[in-house]
Structures are given as structure tokens and as C-alpha cells.
Symmetry: C2
Subunit: 421 residues, 2 copies
């Protein structure tokens, strides 16, 4: 598609460079951004222009970590820490997705609500059930969003009703699922998804690495979220030097492999080194880490180490799908960490949070999350007229207010890779 | 007014007793709640019944601390700590309220947005300007909410453009304002409002105590919010043993005086003793304390000390007027404090947050914030059908989800002291 959006443009070049332009023209040619201009360049004069008036045009946001089956109990059951929370609320709910009818109804609400957010790209956990996960992918495909989806693997330390019978069985089901879905959808792709180290045997992790290599798929999992979890990993894999080392030993953190790890609240120096060397993405999920009293990840330290980072909603340990909220929480929690834990790490700025939400997380999907030339054309149009104020605000200030105050009513248009959705 | 609301009833008796009733009848007689019943008692059979169906009926909430003139810049300027934030953003904005036209426009938006929340009672700061504060009171009166409003007093350590010329001048203006407004409005009453200790001379505090005694008005101010602020108070009043002691010495924390103090992030044992002995209310403003990187107040400790507590939105250091958000933040910040600072203080529960938002803060206004017999009839009707889920939820679970997920669309009815607003 070739077209131009005109409006109040706002995008990131880097964590410290937020570019804004009043009455800017964002040019889309063959679904790719050709850049932002104050006047339409000669080459694009024939393109149709959609005038967004005073509305704000931002790049689409990336949600690097969320759990679709948990959407049914969002906003509930926040009174436990991770391992107890999984057993009390999460595993019983995820077990219901063995029923494809349940899955279809639940995932339809999830997908349609996700569509109403600023998110254009996402990494999403399903459950261990291949057919239900395929249904989730069908629903997501219908939204027009571009996503990676994982059938979850778990062969130990899970309740019987949600535990695959063996590593072999888990991998057979996973391969079968991959073969079914990998060419079935245009925008919805499979992802290798060991739940987390405690629920995966060494054999399973090893075999999943083989599958990853065979199909060249990206990987998502959880890392160093909670202190009890970290201790459990050490007990289960006593030969490992740290939590990340387990994934590394089994080839799931590796230069040959595109991996995103949720949380990373307590990464050691060694883990940071592994993340950096292998360019593993951190999916920072600040609301989730607060709700489950896990702690606050030292995001600035990871940024200083040049570890790639994006944001995650992590429903249902996070209550909301909105990445605006994740931005807000990332900032506020970085302030609390600065105040209460370590004042050598300055709080995150709005510019940094905006970067993490767009280009930071978007880069997991390629050239995504900016309006620089060559980026896939993901855009969101925001209308803030219901938030009127007597102040004359800059585009940056208006965008900052959206982070604190916007809801689905403020999102009035959305494009994914050049297509309006 | 005599009437009955029928629906899914939810209210607090105490921090640990949340009462819920399906298809309950909440009876209002002469604007006072007569209790909640499973069937309509004989004495009320003639009352009209409003059937709210599956909707949730909760008591109105109290916002014990917010700044109306700051509403114009909500969601902006969160990059500084308290004293710098006041100088950079707050004082310049408050100075604009010398212009009554500006005040009228700005306050109209504030009042109409406050009406759209669950708040039925509030303690509200204006500015130093008496006429503009009167305009704020007019706008609030029109909403039907019941509020206390303060013309702010500041005679030192404020920029020239926002500093009253002397204690005497400040008090003359305040008395004149009180005489004008105290019988002008039914639901909107004046409150003594020294901004905070740093901006008030000892002479001003002394004179404000005289005014308080003369007119028997309640008092609102700020206490121990930020470490730089606390140090400044110690420098300004070296003879005081603690920040609260300054208010105490000048009679503004006193058994004879109904006082609410915002924040109390860093109260010492001595301050807690003063608060308890004089039954001073703490207005806990968790979002504000996080946004300005002030810290996290030890609310459970205050509860254990039997200090009365309610919640405050504290716009514009808080970005949102919603007390649902204040509840959410109170819980989440108590988890972070438990995790990062002091694991002897358990995180707040949903029941406790609901209590603080309703009966806890409501009690500042009398018998307000519950559906127990004898309470003034403040009620809010919540519709959660847009948050549909496949799960069968209890009323408590539905109310908990509202705390995380509700916005103004979910608030479909509101009564203040028996009157629909």
C-alpha cells in the first residue's frame, strides 16, 4: 500500500531521541515507511493523504510478553507470589483450554481486546494444548496484528492435569503443531515456548533446541522473575551456574537463536553477560513484577549493558493489555527502585519508556517501531480531545499525557505493516 | 429521599470485613442508609425500588487529598522531586488562577470530571486566590458532591507571584473568603489550608489556628512527604522535634481540630503518636508518592497504630482522579515496600484498600462510606458488562476487577447523601 498520514507525528530514533513534528507527513510505500516530512516530496505527490488533523501519529507498540489464556482472570488473584500464584490460579485456568470451545470463546475476547490497544506486534503464550493454540492463532490472524504465538511446553513440576506426559510426547505435539500452523497464517507465527525452567526437564529443553534449529523459530520463556523461582532452578539444575545458564546450556540462549525472556528482575552479572552476548531480549513487565511482589528489574543497567529490551503486559499477572500502562509502570517502578534500592540507576524518562514500547520491543520483529525510512509501516492514531486542557501542549507533552490517561477510546486508527486494521 | 436500590451489594464493615450480597436491597430513608436486606422489610415496602440487575452497588468513595488547580497539567511533569516540582510546574500554574476567567474554565473541567468518578466526598486544595477558590466551590456545588475546599495560605518560601504579602494579609483574605462562602453553599464547605510548613511562617500558622477555632473549621495540609522537604522543615523550625510537631505546636494538630494530612511517607514514631492521639487523618496518595519518587508510606503500620486513613488522588502529582486507581496503587506499592524495604509489614489486601477508599476516608465526613444502618446514603452503581469473562465471579471478585480495570464508562449511577447526582 502507498499512502500518507498527516498529523502530529511522534517517534523514537533512540532512547534519548524522541522526534516530533507538527503537521508532519508520514509516507508509506509498499508497506514500508519512507520517512517523515514537513512537505510531501515530489516522488510521493500522487499518494493519497489521510489528514489526521491534530491527532497524534505514533509507531505501533510491541508487547513482548503476554499470556492469552490468562486473560479470563485479569485483575484477579494478585495476593500471591509467583509459584503459589501459578498453582492457585494460573494452572487451573490454563487447564480449561483443553476444551476447544472454551478456548475459542476466551481467545476471541482476548484477540478483539488486543486489537483495541496500541499494540501492533506481540509475543504470546498459549497453553500446552496444540489445537487450542491453533484457535488462538486463528483469532489473532483475524485481527491483522503480527504476532508470535507459543504452544507451551511443560513436562515436570506442573499439576497432572496440565503436565505433558514426557519430553518426547511434548515435542511430538509441538512439531505437529508447528507443521500445521507455520504456513497456515500470514501474520501469526509459531514460537518455541518452554514455560520456564522449573516446568521443563533437561531432556525437554534439549529436544526443544533441536526443534528450534530444525524450524528456525524464535524462543520465548521466563527468566529470574522471583527469588523462590530462582532458588528452585538452582535446586533442579545444580550443575548450572545461574538461571540463564540452563537455557544457554541447552542452546535456547544462543547467537543462532532469537530469544525473548520475560522479567529478568534479578539477573546477575553473569546472566547480563549471557543476555548481551546472545542479544537476548528482555521483556520488562513492571506491572506484573509489582502485582506478584517479585521486585523491580534494573532496566537502566540492562540498557547500559546494551541488552535489547522491550515491554510486556504479562496478562494476567499484569491486569491490562495496554502498553501505555506498561510504559507508565516502567517509569514509576524505576523511580521506586531508585528511591528504595539503588540510587545509582536514574529513573527511566518518558523518552526512554516510549522507545522501549516502540522501537525497543519492535526490533524483535525486524525493522519495526519507528518512522525512520525502511521501517515496516506500523502506526497508531491517537485522539486526545477528551483530555482537553487550557495549556498549550507540545506533541511530546500530549504523548506523555496519553501514557498516563489514554484508554481504548483514544485509539482511533491503527496500521500494521501498511494495512489498516 | 426514601427509596431502595437492588443489585449486587458490596461494602466494608471494617478493614477485614467486606460484606457482599447478591440481589440485595439497600434502603435509603431520609437520605440515610437503613441497612442491606435480602428481602424488603415491612416498614419499607412502600418505597420505590430501583432494580440495578446484576450491577454492583458500592458506597461512595472519599478522595481525602487533591489539588483542583493542578488538574490542567495532570499527566505531565513527573520528572522531578517535590520541591523542584513545585517550583518548576506547580507554582507557575497555580499563579494563573489569579485570573478568574482562567479559574472558571479550568475548574469546570475539574468538577465535571470529578463527578464522573466513584468519589462522592473530597478534600480539595484551591490556590491562594479567594475569588477563584469561590468559583471552584460554585462549580463543585453544581456537581452535587459533598466537599471541603481550601483557599491556600502561603506567606514564605514561595515565588513572589504566588506569595501572600504577610501573615496578616493572608489571614484577612482567608477570613473574608470564609465569611463569603460558609453559608453560600449547601454541600461545599471551607477548610483551613496552610499549604505545608515550608510555605507558612510561624505567625501565619498561629493566626490560622485562631481562624480555625473561631469558625470551627477542619484543616488540611501536607506532612512528611519527601526527605528534602522534611529537612527544610527542620531548618525552618529548629525548635520543633519533628515535622508534625510544628503543626501541633501551632494547634493545627489537636484534639479540638479535625485535620487531614496528605502523604505521611516518612512519619517517625513521635509523629505517629501525634497523629494517633489527635486522630489526624492520613491521606495516603500512593501514585503521587511514586510519581515524585517520594517513597512508600507504611500504611499497615499506621493502621496498626489506629491512625485514621483514607486515600487521595493528589492530582497533579497523581495523574488520575480515580480512587479505584488509588486503591490499586496502595496495594501495589505496599507490595513493593514489603519486598524492598520491610517485610514485617504485609501488603495491603483488596478488602483493606476497599475499606480505605470508602469507610476509612469517608469517616472524615461523618458516618459516610458504608451501608451499615445510620450511614449517609452515598452509593455508586457499577456496570462491568464490558469486562465480560467466561469465569463465574463473586461480587468481591467483580469489585476487585473494577479496581484494576474500571473507567468512567463503568460508573452508571451515583448518589450523594440520598440524592442522585
Amino acid at each position: 500500500m502507498n499512502f500518507i498520514l498527516r498529523g502530529s507525528v511522534c517517534y523514537s530514533k533512540s532512547p534519548t531521541e524522541l522526534v516530533t513534528l507538527e503537521k508532519g507527513y508520514v509516507v508509506c510505500k509498499d508497506n514500508v515507511c519512507e520517512g517523515v516530512y514537513t512537505e510531501i516530496p515530489e516522488a510521493y505527490k500522487a499518494y493519497p493523504v489521510k489528514d489526521c488533523g491534530e491527532r497524534i501519529i505514533i509507531p505501533g507498540m510491541a508487547d513482548l510478553h503476554t499470556h492469552a489464556p490468562q486473560y479470563t482472570f485479569r485483575g484477579l488473584g494478585m495476593d500471591k507470589e509467583l509459584l503459589d500464584w501459578l498453582n492457585a490460579y494460573t494452572f487451573p485456568e490454563e487447564a480449561k483450554y483443553e476444551d476447544e470451545g472454551y478456548a475459542r470463546q476466551a481467545y476471541q475476547k482476548f484477540a478483539s481486546d488486543l486489537k483495541q490497544t496500541t499494540t501492533t506486534r506481540a509475543c504470546i503464550f498459549g497453553t500446552i494444548h496444540p489445537h487450542s493454540t491453533e484457535i488462538l492463532m486463528e483469532q489473532l490472524e483475524a485481527t491483522g496484528l503480527i504476532t508470535y504465538v507459543g504452544k507451551v511446553n511443560m513436562d515436570q513440576n506442573a499439576p497432572d492435569y496440565l503436565c505433558e506426559s514426557s519430553a518426547a510426547e511434548s515435542v511430538i505435539a509441538t512439531e505437529k503443531w508447528i507443521n500445521t500452523v507455520q504456513s497456515k497464517f500470514k501474520n501469526t507465527k509459531p514460537m518455541i515456548t518452554p514455560r520456564f525452567v522449573p516446568s521443563c526437564s533437561g531432556e525437554l529443553l534439549e529436544k526443544l533446541h533441536d526443534v528450534q534449529e530444525k524450524y528456525q523459530l524464535p524462543v520465548q520463556s521466563h527468566l529470574s522473575e522471583n527469588m523462590g523461582e530462582i532458588q528452585l532452578v538452582q535446586e533442579l539444575f545444580p550443575q548450572s551456574s545461574c538461571y540463564a545458564d540452563v537455557y544457554h546450556q541447552y542452546g535456547l540462549i544462543d547467537k543462532e537463536c532469537k530469544t525473548v525472556m520475560a522479567h529478568c528482575v534479578y539477573c546477575s552479572e553473569e546472566e547480563m553477560k549471557l543476555l548481551k552476548e546472545n542479544q537476548v531480549y528482555v521483556a520488562h513487565c513492571p506491572e506484573s513484577n509489582a502485582n506478584l511482589a517479585s521486585g523491580i528489574a534494573p532496566i537502566r543497567k540492562y540498557m547500559e549493558h546494551h541488552i535489547p529490551i522491550g515491554l510486556g503486559s504479562d496478562v494476567a499477572a499484569g491486569s491490562k493489555l495496554s502498553i501505555f500502562y506498561a510504559m507508565q509502570d516502567a517509569i514509576v517502578m524505576s523511580k521506586m527502585r531508585w528511591r528504595l534500592v539503588d540510587n545509582s540507576l536514574a529513573p527511566l524518562t518518558f523518552e526512554e519508556a516510549f522507545y522501549l514500547a516502540t522501537k525497543g520491543g519492535g526490533s524483535f520483529f525486524g525493522k519495526v517501531g519507528s518512522f525512520e525510512p525502511g521501517y515496516e509501516f506500523d502506526a497508531v492514531i491517537l485522539d486526545d480531545k477528551n483530555l482537553e486542557t487550557l495549556l498549550q501542549l507540545s506533541i511530546k507533552e500530549r504523548a506523555e499525557r496519553m501514557m498516563y490517561l489514554a484508554d481504548d477510546r483514544n485509539i482511533v486508527g491503527k496500521y500494521v505493516a501498511g494495512k489498516e486494521v
